[in-house]
Symmetry: C2
Subunit: 200 residues, 2 copies
């Protein structure tokens, strides 16, 4: 083996020691809260990818889509194919700038949150995706205290994924994993239409 290859092997051996030690330290097993926030593309799709992953393990899933929903999207069509494994709820009022009616939006958010609460009380549901909940909280259409209380009382092994720009600080504090997604560039800004099958 030449010197460069040996260097590579030694570097990788050191890296493996670090990785293995971190894995050995991480022993706690419980449901976690993941928050996906920021302005970049990929928050909701990341949540839906975690749903796919959990389905691969045979888990039961709950999905609640806030805000979005006046048009049917690809992910909804797809995950509704698995009614035995996926419970799917959509707040059907569309974007807030389409309804232009705050009372109607708040009433819809309340009803949709009740559906989320049922999932967050059910120990048979391994993963709950609360898509765009952050937007609802930011607009104060739901009291954050009610959301935090329900999250705290959920079954201990249940995972929750919450998406949407501008996650409130109080939610970030109780979350276990938080990713901020930032726009480096976006096709839409360059005049490219939102594309079926990748953005819709």
């Amino acid at each position: 083996m030449n010197e460069e290859k040996q260097r590579h092997r030694r570097r990788m051996q050191r890296h493996k020691t670090v990785v293995d030690a971190a894995v050995a330290r991480a022993t706690e097993e419980r449901g976690i809260i993941i928050v996906l926030t920021g302005n970049g593309k990929g928050k909701s799709s990341s949540g839906f990818g975690m749903v796919a992953r959990a389905l691969g393990h045979g888990f039961k899933i709950g999905i609640v889509q806030f805000i979005k929903g006046s048009f049917s999207t690809g992910e909804e069509t797809f995950f509704r194919r698995f009614p035995e494994e996926v419970q799917y709820h959509v707040m059907g009022t569309g974007f807030t700038w389409e309804t232009q009616d705050k009372d109607k939006d708040i009433a819809a958010a309340e009803v949709t949150w009740t559906q989320a609460e049922t999932l967050l009380n059910d120990p048979d549901i391994a993963l709950v995706l609360l898509d765009e909940l952050n937007i609802v909280l930011k607009l104060r259409y739901l009291p954050i205290e009610r959301v935090l209380e329900t999250l705290a009382k959920r079954p201990p092994q249940q995972h929750v994924v919450i998406t949407g720009r501008a996650a409130p600080q109080a939610l970030i504090e109780v979350a276990d994993t938080v990713t901020e997604m930032n726009v480096i560039k976006h096709a839409f800004q360059a005049g490219i239409k939102a594309q079926k099958g990748i953005e819709l």
Copy 2:
């Protein structure tokens, strides 16, 4: 209607004007390249969420997983359920700190890239996910020129999603949409084990 409600309505009407104008400007329709990079959790799962979305529209998909793959993951188990719609390839050598053998890693990357090229030449494939390709490029296990050339020559309506930390600048330049995912916090750092069904 009281004053506060009218204010809300006027604000939302103005916002709708801005949104509608931006939508009207975005008229170009073509396949786009999306790059998901940064250190935060959510890059691969976002790619897999886009796969689910595309499947909802009845599109055909190609998935190539680089680097990962010495253990089977939830997403692989799940998407292999749809062999008519999803072509799934995995570079089976595992993480680079597990093999500790650069020649073996490079040979595996070459073989796996050949599978990616076949997908990137096939106009029937609407979306190609190249999961963790950025890592392979960063380690120089594949020449970036070869990757850029294949991307440039692909069918014009085909979408490509490329994930992995440390995306090379040359790739960011040719991409249409780029999101950088940053860690705000991570459960693993707090001693919580990687959780089946959400991280595996």
